[in-house]
């Protein structure tokens, strides 16, 4: 579904932040993306959601090579991707409802469908009583939940989440991870960048580790041993 081949990225004239990144994501897969701060997790996500073109290498999305695709042809690809940004990127002048409804509106869905879907999802992430509130008057965790709701509302075929639980307590954090898991079971491919070891351990999906601009994919089997050990403790 998504294939990177020898992809490299540099910002301006700086050093290569990502070099020789090669991987393929199967439809319906679920990966964690980890690595120390500044390793390039956000940068890699940026490449996947087409926020930037790579400096070199081949990128294939949904079977189309995007390297020499026309600008306009990227629009339908983008509509199939949901993103939770590390810094949320909410529209501060739009209410919680309208922020979450935005992807549906861009797709031109009928307003009644929007009304139902959005309200249901907001209820589910614990923001049912805050549909008409503006993001700047909400707590960090609440904003993060809006960002997550917005990313999943249009049932994207690919979901990218950058540190989606950094501002959430463990309870609501696991609840949202379950939401991702549920989506994954319905066929959505998922990549989550996170530092939260507890979450990674609990869900046990394979890890993509970025270090020094290179990417390693650790199999699930490798992790199972540690996971078992921890579960045995409690």
């Amino acid at each position: 579904m998504i294939k990177f081949e020898n992809v490299g990225l540099r910002y301006g004239i700086g050093p290569e932040v990502l070099s020789d990144i090669s991987f393929a994501l199967e439809p319906g897969s679920f990966h964690f993306l980890t690595g120390p701060s500044g390793a390039g997790k956000t940068s890699l996500m940026n490449l996947i959601y087409l926020g930037r073109r790579p400096t070199r290498g081949l990128v294939t999305m949904f079977g189309q090579s995007i390297n020499d695709l026309d600008r306009r042809k990227l629009t339908p690809i983008r509509q199939r991707i949901g993103v939770v940004f590390q810094d949320f990127r909410l529209m501060n002048h739009l209410s919680t409802f309208d922020n979450v409804a935005l992807p549906l509106r861009i797709l031109g869905r009928p307003e009644t469908e929007i009304q139902n879907n959005v309200n249901e999802l907001l209820e589910w992430v614990g923001l049912g009583g805050k549909t008409n509130v503006l993001p700047p008057t909400m707590s960090g965790g609440e904003q993060q939940r809006i960002a997550i709701a917005r990313a999943v509302i249009a049932r994207p075929r690919l979901l990218l989440a950058d540190e989606p639980t950094g501002n959430l307590d463990d309870d609501i954090g696991f609840r949202l991870m379950n939401l991702f898991d549920q989506l994954n079971r319905m066929g959505t491919t998922i990549v989550i960048a996170t530092h939260n070891q507890a979450v990674i351990d609990k869900l046990g999906h394979p890890r993509m580790v970025l270090e020094g601009g290179r990417l390693n994919i650790e199999s699930t089997a490798q992790k199972n041993w540690i996971q078992k050990k921890i579960q045995g403790v409690f």
Binding site: R52, I81, N92, D98, L102, I106
Partner: protein
């Protein structure tokens, strides 16, 4: 300044206008004010330029098309001090000029003034008692023209000079030439000002849209990344620019109208033929009304172009 319509989304009535908070930008009222002022000044300057042209035309054509050709009693030909020419000589030269001039197509009539007529004209300067035979008398031809144009005047002057090199044209209206020159300068200034104003408004709208693009760059980029088509984004800016310009133009044109009526009231009842009323022809009216229409069109296009250029820079 203006009632801000509630653009709040989330109401399922299809009235959704903006995803971007363009109408809440602090600068909007300010831009409207600027456009209003520009329109106001442009309408005034343009009207002034029209009025000045009408005024100039009327002044140069409406006044009696009369002039006098003077054949002095001195000839400056030979010496510095000039030689006094005999009265008979002057008379024959005058006769000759009159004959020649009468055939010019622009000349209605050309009459040689009689001695007594000349005496009437001269007496205020020389006194009643001086006998005409004692002084050298100039020859005078009173000319009535069909229309006064600079070309005709030049032609007549040349014709007279060919016969008597010292002949002089007196239009009684040198001050009018001054006035016409002045009016021309004012008209020029008015047009320059209108042009400057137009350019400024254009720059202002383009600048404002660019600045709004900059302020909302993150939001525009977000929409773009979510898969919004270019048109989805462009149309919001376009509608915004159009709305602002329209509001500004209405205010400006109304203001200018009020001021013009005021000026009309103050100067309008002069009644004299010299100063025409501040009434404008139908063509001018149309020109004045095209001004805001053009402004709106230009600013919508400017907005579209500006936004598309920024969007083209996004991956």
């Amino acid at each position: 300044m203006f009632v801000q319509k509630d653009r709040k989304l989330g109401v399922a009535d299809g009235k959704r206008q903006y995803d971007l908070p363009l109408n809440r930008d602090e600068g909007s009222g300010f831009l409207i004010l600027l456009i209003a002022l520009m329109t106001f000044l442009a309408v005034l300057a343009l009207s002034a330029s029209f009025v000045l042209r009408t005024m100039g035309d009327r002044w140069s054509s409406g006044l009696e098309n009369k002039l006098t050709i003077e054949v002095p009693a001195e000839s400056a030909n030979e010496t510095h001090d000039g030689i006094v020419i005999s009265n008979e000589n002057v008379k024959s030269l005058t006769q000759e000029i009159a004959e020649k001039i009468r055939h010019h197509p622009a000349v209605k009539s050309a009459d040689i003034l009689s001695d007594s007529e000349i005496q009437d004209l001269i007496s205020p300067w020389l006194g009643e008692d001086v006998s005409l035979i004692d002084v050298p008398m100039p020859g005078l031809i009173s000319v009535q023209l069909q229309v006064t144009t600079p070309e005709t005047l030049h032609a007549l002057e040349k014709a007279a000079r060919d016969i008597s090199p010292t002949a002089r044209l007196d239009t009684h209206e040198t001050w009018l030439n001054d006035l016409l020159r002045f009016t021309g300068a004012m008209q020029f200034a008015a047009l320059i000002i209108t042009l400057i104003i137009g350019a400024t408004t254009f720059t202002a709208v383009a600048g404002a849209i660019r600045s709004r693009m900059a302020v909302h760059k993150d939001e525009v980029e977000l929409l773009h990344l979510m898969g919004a088509k270019d048109d989805y984004i462009t149309s919001q800016f376009q509608r915004h620019a159009l709305t602002l310009t329209l509001q500004g133009c209405v205010v400006g044109v109304l203001g200018a109208g009020i001021v013009m009526v005021l000026i009309g009231l103050i100067s309008g009842d002069t009644g004299g033929a010299l100063i025409p009323d501040f009434r404008l022809g139908i063509v001018h009216m149309i020109a004045l009304f095209l001004l805001p229409v053009a402004a709106c069109g230009i600013s919508a296009l400017t907005a579209r172009h500006t936004v598309l250029r920024v969007l083209a820079g996004m991956p």
